[in-house]
Amino acid sequence: MKQINLESKILGSNELLARKNRHLFEQLGILVLNLMSSPGAGKTTLLERTIEKLNGRLKLGVIEGDLYTDQDARRIEQKGVQVIQINTEGTCHLDAAMIGQAFADLQEYGQLDLLFIENVGNLVCPAEFDLGEDYKVVVLSTAEGNDKPLKYPLIFYQSRAVVLNKIDLLPYTDFSLERFLQDLENINPTAQTFMLSGRTGQGLAEWTGWLLEEVNRKKQGTAREP
């Protein structure tokens, strides 16, 4: 009998492809955000409001991950932003290979300032799959309860920004803002936090302000490179 040591990463091939994507995004100077949340937290609504609020100031692209339908992609298209739909056919997450292909299908991808990837609604699986993005962003809605960072710590740990959506519903829920912020402070003390409403537009300006800053930062980073 032989023992064969592999010590190989289970997601090694995804990591390789994610690195390729990241390198390409780097070269093109595109800021790429991977939006994750449970189903219905408001990712597509946030994208619609973001497109309206930015009002042409940035050249945007969207990759929509959806289990079976193209409804979200059509919502984005109606806002006049180019979008590529990925149907995962039941797979609960996007992976780096899917993103590499979808990105190449975007028209004029070289001209983009900011690419959003809307991941499949799920707080567990997407957290393990690096897509080559600059930042993961997790969206939580007040209707889901304030205990989600404790229950799904990895996704909150990994996210550069945390969006608390449906803030307009706060008075009608038992969501404790204090507990939520306290737990987040422990799990991810350096995360950017945004509290907003995709319904009323409250808090949206802080979010788009951050996007503009980060897009600039990314471009300058690229410009500095030889």
Binding site: I10, L11, H93, E128
Partner: protein, 114 residues
Amino acid sequence: MHEVTLMSGILDTLRENARQNGITRISRIKLIVGKFSMALPSSLRFAFAALAQEGLFQEAWLDIEERELHCLCQDCQREFGPQSSYCFVCPDCNGQHIKILAGREMLIDFYEGD
């Protein structure tokens, strides 16, 4: 769940490696899975039972070692283990520059066979 994706990747790696090494029967597979990963051992076992059907895996025993979360504070160099709830702030100096030393891994450690 994504454990099915993970397991089919694991099996592909093993098939390819066994072929290269002339191994036709695997008797034991050893994985290392961090507790701060999103791979559940029970789901991995379920996926293994469902996917590892062919002769190569017929007698294979799946061994999963779980690793606890272990962190290093880069401000004061103190190492600390898992706390009652997830906390990435140093218990000594309140530093926020925490590096995870263990607990995030998802590895095929080794396998045995003939």
